[in-house]
């Protein structure tokens, strides 16, 4: 006999059950979003242990303040907002936080010139073969060089596939700001991975 599938509740149904003290409902929410939350946190703070701690803290906060969730946005944008803010707090505490303004100045001064992290690491052998995993590691380094808010939008877009509107809602910014940050993030990543993008680099 096939096991009956547990009922698939919507986020808001689970949230309402959590408000009534249903622990199982909260567990379902955690299971539904744990990977996504962890991925965002890992992209933001890099360290897997820190990312796992932030994911846990994010869910604890969600449980603590679930009574305040007003349902005017989707549950996951609320959850992501909590997690992104925790990541930014974490970066700030660890002195790895640079403001967007500082970053814009740096970017303008450098003008996005050069051949990026790949060039500086491969030196005189730009036609070296790289594995996709190795290349992804370079991407990770390039992401780390982005300011946190740029990092957040590019991760939400590329990993979660979030719409501009959802990102704006999550970060409490306008859609125009989302587009601007996304554009700058992409420009910087493209500059960092120029060798790969220009085809000077073969990938296994």
């Amino acid at each position: 006999m096939a096991a009956a599938n547990p009922k698939e509740y919507s986020d808001i149904e689970l949230v309402n059950r959590c408000r009534n003290g249903d622990e199982m409902a909260f567990s379902q929410l955690v299971q539904r979003y744990q990977r996504k939350v962890y991925t965002i946190a890992l992209g933001m703070v890099k360290n897997p242990d820190d990312a796992m701690d932030i994911a846990q803290e994010g869910f604890v906060k969600v449980h603590r303040y679930i009574g305040n969730f007003q349902g005017s946005s989707s549950f996951y944008t609320w959850l992501y907002r909590i997690v992104v803010n925790l990541c930014i707090d974490h970066l700030r505490k660890n002195g790895r936080y640079a403001s967007d303004e500082y970053d814009e100045r740096t970017h303008n001064r450098e003008g996005g010139q050069g051949r990026g992290v790949l060039s500086s690491n491969l030196g005189n052998n730009p036609s070296a073969n790289l594995g996709r995993k190795e290349l992804a590691a370079y991407l990770q380094r390039a992401i780390e060089d982005l300011p946190p808010y740029h990092r957040a939008v590019i991760l939400m877009r590329e990993i979660e596939g979030m719409s501009y509107s959802d990102m704006a809602d999550t970060l409490n910014i306008s859609k125009g700001t989302v587009m601007s940050r996304l554009h700058h993030a992409r420009q910087k990543l493209q500059a960092a991975l120029q060798l790969y993008l220009e085809g000077d680099l073969s990938v296994d």
């Binding site: 744990q34 890992l42 846990q56 604890v60 603590r64 946005s73 907002r81 290349l135």
Partner: protein, 181 residues
Amino acid sequence: MKQDEKILAQYYDGELNERKSAEVKKQLDSSHEGALALENMTKISQLFQVLHEQSQESTSFEGFDKRVINAIRSQKTPVPFSEKLRVWATEFFAHRKLVWIPAASVAGAACVAVLAVGLQNSKQMIPTMPDRTDSSTWQASGTTDSIVSTVAVTAPSEMNVEEFSLETDNGQRIAVVWIDE
């Protein structure tokens, strides 16, 4: 950000409507630069997927939900009211445009006006000082619902004081302080 870059990014991210998207697609057929920019965005996206897969492969979430529940149980201290208020306010403001401010101001002003009118009316509801020389029983007029309508005066009719007592129909005594202007 240039206009064409902005449109191209929106096209790539699926943020354009069908008509606009078809227009951009048509333009890309004849724009080498645009096609290259699109290809670069695609390549970056592919790398993100590799990065994502790697992080997922090496991470186990077994028992993560239980860890979270245990962490919640260990933090049983109640949330301070100020913190609750702060979170509530953050949520409240995060999803409401500033248009609510004038709306709330108008609503607030309306409430104040209603209260002021109510207060004014309640002042008018205070019964007028009856003529104490005519009768020992006064019919109070203009009283509010909470004040008995008929009272028997026990003070002498010629009294000239501003504080006296009344006896209601059911024998209850009420102290009255009259401020006669």
